[in-house]
Structures are given as C-alpha cells and as structure tokens.
C-alpha cells in the first residue's frame, strides 16, 4: 500500500527516530487507556457510589498526571518523526545535488531549467508528509487499535470481538476502494495540472493575445475551462467521498452497535456500568487511527509522486559513475585529435555526430562552420568533456582523453559560450571564478582586454555590484564580454569559442574583434564561427553538415568548391552562420 521501495530503503538507513516515534505513540496510547479508566472511575463514583466521593481528588490528580504524561509522549512522538524526516530530507537533498553535479552540464541543459530547480527545492520538501506522517501512521494504525482492543477484551469479550471484527473492514474497504480511489486521485491530479497549465499558458501568452486585440474576450475561456474542471472533478470526488462515507459509517455504526449492545446487557445486569462506560469512551479512539490513515494516505501519495521526480536522477547518476579517475596530463603543446568520433544524445535515435575525424594543431585556429543543428556545439561539448563519445576516441598527444582526469583536462580550457552564465554574486567574483588567485592587476588587465572597463565603471558599486540587483540588467553582449574576461584570466592553452552572432554597433564590434583576436594568439583554438573575417583568419576550416564533416580546408580552397561553404558565403554576405 503505497510503500515506495526506494523511500523505504532510505528510511532503513536512519530508522531510529521513526522507531522511537512509534514507541512513544504506543506509550501515549497506554496513557490514553489509563485516562479512560480514571474518568470512568470518577464518573462511576459520581453516578453510583456517592460513598466513595472522598476518593475523587486522588483520581482527578492521577488523571491530571497521566494527561501531562500523554501530552509529552504525543509531542515527543511527533517530534521524533519530524526529526527523522528532516534527516532524510537533508540526506536526499545532498544526494540529489551530488547526482545532478555528477550528471553535469549535458544533463542540466537537456532539462527544462525550471523543473529541475523545482524538484530540488520543492520536491524534497514534498516528501515530508510521507516520512513524518504517513509512515509512522502505518504502524500506529495497527498498534494503537491493538492496544485498545487488548485493554477492552479481558473486560468484555463481546465488545472486544465486535471491535476486532469491524476494524479489518476499514482497511479492507480502503483496499477495495483504494485502487479505484487511487486512479481517481491521479486523474484529478492530472486534470488539476492541466487546468493550471492552461491558465499559465494564457498568462504567458497574454501579450500575444493583446497584440491581436483578443485579450479581453478570453477571460470567458478561463471560466469555461474552470467550470469543466469543476464538474469533472466533482464527479470523481463524489465517488471518493462516498468511499470515505463508507469508512466513516463503519466507525460510527461500530460505535452505535457497541453502545446499544452494551446498554441492553447493562439492563440485563450482565455488565457493570464502569466497564460499559470505559468501552464507550475508548471505542471512538479505536477507530480514530484507522480513519486517519485514510487522510494521511493522501499525503503519502503526494510524497511518492515527488519521489518519481527525484529517484530517476539519482539512479541515472549512479549509472554514469563508472568514469575512471584517470591520470594527469603532462605536456601542454600536444595536438588534439578526433578519431572517428560519433555521438548520439541519450534517448535520441539518430546520431548528432558520425565518424568525425580531425586534428587541432597546437597554436593554430580551427573554425567550425555549418548550419544550425549540424553538430558544432556537440563537438565543443565533447572537447569540454561535458559529454563522452559514443564511439571513437579523442586523443591528445598519444593519450585518450577518457584516461585523463576530467578536472585536470578542463583546467587547460578557456571557454566562451554563446550564453555564458553569470552567477548571483558580484561582478568581481563572477570574473575571478575563472582564476580565484588572480591579482588585482591581472583582473584589471582582463577587464581592459575584454572591453568591460566602462561597463563596470557605470555600475552602482563597480566590481562589487551584485549581478541582477539594483536594476543592473546585463545584456547578452555584456555577458559575453564577461566570458571573454574570464578566458583572459584563465590563460589556458586551449581556447573554445562560440562566436557571438549579433553584430550591430560598429564601434563595439571593432573592439570585440580586437579582444578575441588577442585571445586567440598562440593558443590552440576551436571556434564555432559566424563571421567571415574569423573564418578567413583561421588556419583550418571544417564544414559540418548533419553530423558529418563535408569539407575541410582553408577559405581559398573551400570557396572554389561547390558546396555549403560557398553558398553560405554568397547568400549571406559575410554572415556564414
């Protein structure tokens, strides 16, 4: 019943708080039974034994003490369950973040960024009710009624038997209805998600609707869909509520049967009042945990659906863990060779790269050109070791890249992506991330080289300005300059450059080109090129189409061949993207 194997395995690692919680709950039940007995005793004195009235204060004092004890035990039980849940959430959070970082950039890029962040933040927290409520309740709903039945049975066999006979009806009904209810809950959950999705879609497209003068008339469609949602959900809920009505009736009718049955036997003198009253007080308590299991079952459902988002990530990371630690790299000035490399994205049926072979000679610039989707970025990600070849190998000198420690390899790379990420920290730290031990002079030099000087001067707190705060929106062009400054600071032998595509401001353009040219000097460079000037300056050009290298050479040789390169140069007039 809704026991996720993976969640249970997790609980097995830290079972102590959960066990204490359940034990405390059982002791609290014993206190409850004692309370019931004490009340019955006092009521019986009041009702039938006025002569023992003097004992009343003693019983009341005992009742008070037991109540305090019960309060403390219940609090402790809840507290322990919460503590256990906290430990597990921390554990799961740490494992999930570690798993995502092991899976790396190719994984995060393949997911919608929002959904991954949501899983990290809310997914783990959504497991709380499962751990702290549903799991302990599973045990409590067996042990507590058990203890109460054990207290009643020796006093009155018939009532005890009635309780024990009706009790299994609740789980039985729950299982019978449960399957159907579970499907219904899932259906309802889906239609709620669809409803929210539709609403979100309307909000996101509001500007577009407005452009077509349609925004005002669309409010009706929200109402319509909400109404549809209401009717369909209510149909589902009617049945779900009916099932809980059945459960409720088992409980209350159980209470009623016992009351009537006891009343009749009392009248016949077959039972004494105190026992009868004791049973009447405990009967609702007997059914209570079973009923609660129903409500907490729902909490458990949500928890296991959150687990559906979390565990596949952790499991996927364990599969990719096999990567060897690998050795260190000695020589800087080695050529890098792609040796019959193919790559297929996970879950895709066609290869992004097929049998690619080329060599990056030390100190030279190689330009990759080709239409979008041809596999240029995949090539770069392979070199960055964000992904590994599905077949073939990448070799530096005589060593296979796969045998070199990944961090060691990445330390030798400066990378300027198309969309660099700026962290939520100061601009200064955003630059220094490339080389934390850089001196002030080196930092200023890199800023100058990247043409960031005047941009930073205009920020409210200069280098200390936090990105994205105080109204400092950073444009794509500025972010790219930050990446260029990082590359200067990095001062690594291998430069991977995804050339900026937009070129609008002649003055800005000139200085950017200058910076990049300076950066490429004396470095082994692979550039995904969009500008003809860059391409023409390159020592070698690779034309990539549909995952194949269809041509390679220099500008002069390629322009003479009838192919993508020539037609791209001709149609675009300088923009060879």
């Amino acid at each position: 019943m809704n026991l996720d194997r993976r969640l249970i395995t997790l609980v097995r690692e830290h079972p102590v708080p959960f066990v204490t919680s359940v034990i405390a709950a059982v002791f609290a039940t014993l206190a409850l039974i004692a309370q019931a007995w004490l009340i019955c005793r006092t009521v019986t004195i009041l009702f039938l034994e006025p002569s023992s009235m003097a004992d009343l204060p003693v019983f009341l004092a005992a009742f008070g003490i037991v109540s305090l004890l019960k309060t403390a035990l219940n609090w402790y039980s809840a507290r322990e369950a919460a503590r256990g849940s906290e430990t597990l959430r921390q554990l799961l959070h740490n494992r999930l973040t570690a798993a995502i970082s092991r899976l790396g950039p190719s994984f995060t890029a393949s997911r919608r960024s929002g959904s991954l962040a949501t899983t990290l933040q809310q997914g783990v927290e959504a497991l709380d009710p499962y751990f702290s409520q549903y799991l302990p309740q599973l045990f409590i709903s067996v042990l507590v009624p058990g203890a109460i039945a054990a207290a009643i049975l020796p006093r009155d066999l018939l009532s005890g038997t009635i309780l024990l006979c009706t009790a299994p009806l609740i789980p039985l009904f729950m299982i019978l209805i449960g399957k159907a209810a579970q499907n219904m809950t899932r259906q309802q959950w889906q239609s709620l998600t669809r409803m929210s999705g539709h609403f979100l879609d309307m909000l996101q497209g509001l500007t577009t609707l407005k452009l077509f003068g349609q925004s005002r008339s669309r409010a009706g469609s929200i109402e319509e869909i909400s109404e549809q949602f209401r009717t369909s959900t209510m149909n589902v809920l009617k049945i779900a509520f009916l099932s809980s009505l059945t459960l409720e009736l088992v409980g209350t009718i159980g209470t009623a049967i016992i009351a009537v049955q006891i009343g009749l036997r009392l009248m016949a003198g077959a039972l004494d009042f105190q026992t009868a009253f004791f049973i009447i007080i405990l009967t609702p308590e007997f059914y209570q945990p079973l009923r609660q299991l129903g409500t907490k079952f729902h909490a458990g459902m949500e928890g296991s659906s959150a687990a559906e988002d979390i565990f596949p990530i952790i499991e996927a990371s364990e599969e990719s863990r096999t990567q060897a630690a690998g050795g260190a790299l000695v020589d800087d000035a080695q050529p890098v060779t792609f040796n019959d490399v193919s790559f297929t994205h996970p879950g895709s049926d066609h290869a992004a790269l097929q049998h690619i072979s080329f060599t990056l000679e030390p100190g030279t610039t190689t330009a990759l050109v080709g239409p979008s989707g041809a596999g240029k970025t995949t090539c770069m990600n392979l070199l960055l070791r964000f992904i590994s070849p599905s077949a073939g190998s990448i070799i530096t000198g005589t060593t296979d890249l796969a045998e070199i420690d990944r961090q060691n390899w990445q330390n030798r790379i400066a990378w300027i992506p198309q969309h660099p990420w700026l962290f939520h920290t100061s601009i200064g730290e955003n630059l220094l991330i490339a080389r934390p031990d850089a001196s002030r002079e080196e930092l200023m030099q890199a800023i100058d080289n990247a043409g960031l000087h005047s941009f930073i001067e205009n920020l409210p707190d200069g280098l200390d300005t936090v990105v994205g705060e105080q109204g400092t929106a950073i444009s794509g062009g500025e972010a790219q300059r930050v990446a260029i400054a990082r590359a200067f600071l990095r001062n690594a032998p291998l430069l991977l450059l995804d050339e900026p595509t937009s070129h609008t401001d002649p003055e800005l353009e000139e200085s950017l080109q200058h910076s990049l040219r300076q950066l490429m000097q004396n470095r082994t460079t692979l550039v995904i090129a969009h500008r003809l000037s860059t391409i023409m300056d390159a020592d070698a050009i690779l034309v990539l189409e549909n995952g194949h290298i269809t041509a390679s050479g220099t500008h002069d040789t390629l322009i003479r061949q009838n192919g993508y390169y020539r037609s791209a140069v001709r149609t675009t007039g300088g923009n060879a993207s």
């Binding site: 509520f241 009392l266 962290f423 991330i433 023409m536 007039g573």
Partner: protein, 576 residues
C-alpha cells in the same frame, strides 16, 4: 489581515454556499458529540435497569447520530469542494481580467515564466482557503456556542468552565505558538530566497561550475543552506508538534474542572447523577472541533503569502488606460510621431528622445540601429503597451491616447520573434489572428506564409508538450497569424532574428510580398535587402541619427554606411 479581507471579498458571491458548508460541518461535529452523549446516556440509563421502552429513545438517538454524522460529513465535503472550485474559477478569471490591462508594461519584472508559474501555484494554494482556514475557527465558534447552551441546561458554571478551556484551545494555544515562532517565517523565507538563487546558479551555471572546478563549493553552499532551512523548520516544528497534544491537554483540564464542578452538584442532589457521564463525554467530544485550529493558522500564513504575491501584481496601476469615450480611427492609416520622448518606468535613461517621423499609408519603412537604440520602443508605443512620456503619436491625425487601445492594436499588426505559441492546436493558435476565419482562410494564410505542409496539421497540438517546431516554423506561424489578422499597418519586429540565413531570406520574401498591400515597418539590426524599403530611419541612443533611402544613406557615409559595411565587408573581400 488586509489581504485576507480582500480574498474574502472575492468569495462574496458564494456566501450562501459557504454558509451551507459551514452549517453541515458544524452539524457533523454536533452529531458526533450527540452520538457519544446519547451513548453515555443510554448506558447510564441502562445501568439503572429500567424498562426497555425507556431506552428506546436512546437507541434511536444513537442510530440517528451515527448515520447522520457520516452523511453530513459527506454533504459537507461535497458542498465545500464544489464551492471551493467555483471560488477558484472566479479567482482565476478575476486575476486574468485584472492582469490584462497591466500586460506587458507592469509585468516586465515577471518576464520569466517561473514567476508566473509561482502565481499559478499561489492561486492553487488558495484551494484550502475555505476548508482549512475559514471553516475551522467558525465551526469551533459554533460548537462553543452549542456547548455553552447544552451545559447551560444543567448548570451555568459548567458552561463557563468549558468556555474558558475552549477559548484557551482556540486562542491561547495559537497565540502562544505564534509568539514562539515569531520571526521564523521571515528567516525561513530569506533562506529560501537564497536557496532559489543558488539553485538556479547550480542548474543554469553547471557548465561554468564544472569547468572552473567550483562544483564542490557550490554543493557545500547548497547543503549548508538546506541545513539552515531544516534547522528553522525544526524549530518551528518543535512548537507546531505541540499543538495537538496541547489541545488534548486542554480537554483533560476541562474534564477535571467539569468533574470538580459536578462533584458538589451531584452530591447535593442539584443535578441528577445520571447526567455526570453524559456531560463529561460531551465535554471531551466537543474538542474535536478545536484540533484543526493550529493548522489553520499555518495555512492562513501560507494563504496570506500567496495572496500578497497575487495582490502585489494586481494592485499596480495600469500603464495604459482605455479612454472613457474612445474615438474611432478612420480609413487612412498614416502614423505620425511628433517629438516623442519615452523613458521606461523606473529608468531615467531616455529610450526615445524627441523623435519625429511619419509612416505614410502604403509605404515601406525600415527602422535600424545598434541594439538599445530604441527600435523596439517604437513598436511598444505603437502597440499601446506604454504611453509616450512627451509628445504625441497620431493615427490619421487623431492622438492615439484618445482611441481604444484594442482598436489601435487592430490597426497595427505584428510579426515578432517573441510570438507565443499556445499549448493548443495549430488551428486555435491561428484563430487568435482572426477568430472568425474558416478553415479555407487558415489554409490560405498558411500557404502564403510558406507553411503549406501545415494545412493538414490544423488539429495537431503546438506549444508546450505539443509538436516540436523549428524557429523558422514558429516565425512562419506568426506570419500566418498576422496575415489572418490583416491589419492595415504591419510591424516586423526583428521577425527573422535567430534564423539561419537561408530560412531568413525565404521568410523575408513572403513578408515583403504580403507587405506590398500594407503600411510596412521593419525593425531590424540586420541590414539585408535594404534596397526594398522606401525609407530607412537610423536610430542611435534614442535619436534619429539619419534617414533616407538605402542609396542616399550609403552615399552619406555615416552610421548606416558603417553598419552596412561591417555586415557586408567580408563579402566584398571574398569577391576579390
């Protein structure tokens, strides 16, 4: 509290339904009190061994309350859920209609889908507004009144005593809890904000983190924040976990007090001793209504937070209001900008500075310039997303401030790179351009936009979770929409940015052909095919730097010529 009042105002049309739900909820608990009290009476009476018919009423009562409780609970759930869904529908419609005039000017801070997503989640959160927040305290209040009356039948000190403990459970415990956890919610939300930033850095900046060997420190930072979060939650739970046990402690105290009062009353014979068990059990049962109260306080907090975020957006003044008596624009579609200046709200920089020009009926104009020069601002003003800060914009000589914004938009069509595709069928997406269009018209528009292949895909789903569309296909759909919209003025706002050059060229040709029938304005930073335009406005830093035809501007050798050369120089070199 203010926010709660505002939320409650939205519920006003459902007052009677909510009242019905409340009364059935109250009757449910009353039945369960009744069940236990009659049961107690039954056995007390039975212990005196009366004749059977004296017990009859008790037996009937027990059966009645037993069944009533289940049935009433069922009814209460039905009514309260149905009402809640109606209420949520109303909140959604209300939110949309309130948001509509604010878009997009007031929403520029909420550009990222994540924030809108949060709002949608916030509205879903309000689902429990009635059942978890409003109903429990009112039910508890009704039960308090009921028990005051019931115990009052026996003796008023009993009423008074129970009232005190009810008040303690309903007010004392929640207040104590609020006092003990004061400030923690704020701290928690600060930690969560920090978590959000680091999580996004972690997910989006993964490549940089790995490359710069920062993953370990990022992980450590995230784990520490999680520890802080859990630590605060632990301290909150320390208090919250005590809620239910404390309510039942109140119950125990009430029982002791009741028994202490009953002792003398029964002893002196003022009260028939048969009632003592009935009263004690009634006192105990009445606390069922108080158990959900502390949780109500937590839900109230969550709902208030959600409500606050909702109202934060909605309470903004719309940037552009519809005039009270809008004029109707005429058939001539000449647009004039007269000394128009504009700054975006919150910015001091002038995005447009004293700009004047005329877009004559039927002519083609290109607006070019470096990014940030103010090109898109012109489009935003023409779409009535903002009012000009100074100067006037006229449509056939009428100031557009005096026109209904929707009328202006129906005159000024757009193809933009930001066009949104709804998660609905291609047909529905196209109908946004013209809701009255029939399938023939849709197919013609698709064909004209170069998407003939989509003619038999009208019922396929687009947008999120729909079929994957390439950038070119999206732009073509956007063009088809504009064709259906058929506005006399057409703005192409960077309509082909981010497309590869061969697709770009093809789409541009479609658009120019279509534009022959229109007043066409192309906003672009890519200077290709500029000879086709009657006039080119060159913008820089919010000013019109130059204007003229392509050949005039090239001859001048100014900014335009520099930009053109930058983008075309390599081709000239390659020709040599």
């Amino acid at each position: 509290m203010n926010i709660l009042v505002k939320l409650l105002k939205l519920a006003r049309p459902y007052t009677w339904w909510l009242l019905l739900a409340l009364i059935t909820g109250w009757a449910t608990i009353t039945s369960s009190i009744g069940l236990l009290m009659t049961a107690a009476w039954l056995i007390a009476k039975a212990a005196l061994q009366p004749s059977f018919h004296e017990l009859q009423i008790g037996i009937v009562g027990v059966r009645f309350f037993g069944i009533a409780r289940g049935v009433l609970r069922y009814l209460e759930r039905l009514v309260s859920h149905s009402t809640t869904f109606r209420l949520l529908a109303r909140i959604r419609v209300w939110f949309y209609t309130s948001l509509e005039p604010l878009a997009p000017a007031r929403l520029s801070n909420y550009k990222s889908g994540d924030l809108l997503q949060r709002i949608v989640g916030d509205i879903d959160t309000l689902e429990n507004l009635y059942s978890r927040v409003i109903a429990p305290p009112l039910t508890a209040l009704l039960i308090t009144i009921l028990m005051w009356w019931v115990l009052g039948i026996f003796a008023w000190p009993l009423s008074l005593a129970l009232f005190c403990f009810h008040a303690l459970a309903a007010l004392g415990i929640p207040l104590l809890s609020a006092h003990l956890t004061r400030g923690m919610a704020t701290k928690l939300s600060a930690v969560r904000t920090a978590q959000q930033a680091t999580t996004i850095d972690f997910v989006q900046g993964m490549a940089e983190l790995q490359l710069f060997n920062r993953l370990d420190s990022q992980l450590a930072g995230m784990n520490t924040l999680k520890e802080q979060e859990l630590d605060l939650i632990r301290r909150q739970n320390l208090v919250r976990n005590a809620h239910e046990p404390l309510v039942s402690l109140c119950m125990s105290a009430a029982v002791i007090t009741t028994l202490l009062i009953l002792g003398p009353l029964v002893g002196s014979g003022t009260l028939d001793s048969i009632w003592s068990g009935v009263i004690v059990i009634g006192v105990m049962a009445s606390f069922e209504a108080f158990l959900p109260l502390p949780a109500a306080l937590e839900h109230l907090d969550a709902d208030r937070e959600a409500g606050k975020r909702i109202f934060d957006i909605i309470d903004a003044e719309p940037e552009v209001a519809t005039p009270e008596n809008p004029l109707k624009p005429g058939a001539d579609h000449t647009i004039g900008f007269h000394n128009v200046s504009f700054s975006y709200p919150g910015s001091r920089r002038k995005a447009l500075d004293q700009v004047s020009f005329t877009l004559e009926h039927g002519r083609k104009t290109a607006i070019v310039g470096p990014s940030g020069a103010g090109k898109s601002t012109i489009a935003a003003l023409l779409h009535r997303f903002y009012n000009p800060t100074e100067g006037t914009i006229t449509l056939r000589g009428i100031d557009i401030m005096n026109l209904d914004p929707d009328d202006v938009r129906n005159h000024v069509g757009t193809v933009s790179q930001r066009t949104y595709l709804f998660a609905r069928t291609i047909r529905e997406n196209l109908l946004i351009g013209n809701p009255q269009a029939d399938d023939e018209e849709l197919k013609r528009a698709l064909e004209e936009a170069g998407l003939k292949t989509f003619s038999d895909k009208l019922d396929q789903w687009a947008g999120q979770h729909g079929m994957q569309l390439s950038g070119g296909e999206r732009q073509r759909l956007s063009l088809a929409r504009a064709l259906l919209h058929d506005a006399p003025v057409l703005i192409l706002d960077e309509a082909t940015a981010n497309l590869d050059t061969i697709t770009e060229k093809a789409i541009m040709e479609n658009m120019m052909a279509f534009g022959n029938r229109k007043t066409l304005v192309a906003i672009t930073h890519r200077l290709y095919g500029m000879e086709a335009f009657d006039r080119i406005l060159v913008l820089k830093n919010g000013h019109i730097a130059e204007q003229g035809s392509h050949s005039e501007l090239m001859a001048r050798g100014g900014l335009y010529a520099a930009m053109w050369n930058l983008q075309h120089r390599n081709q000239l070199d390659s020709g040599s």
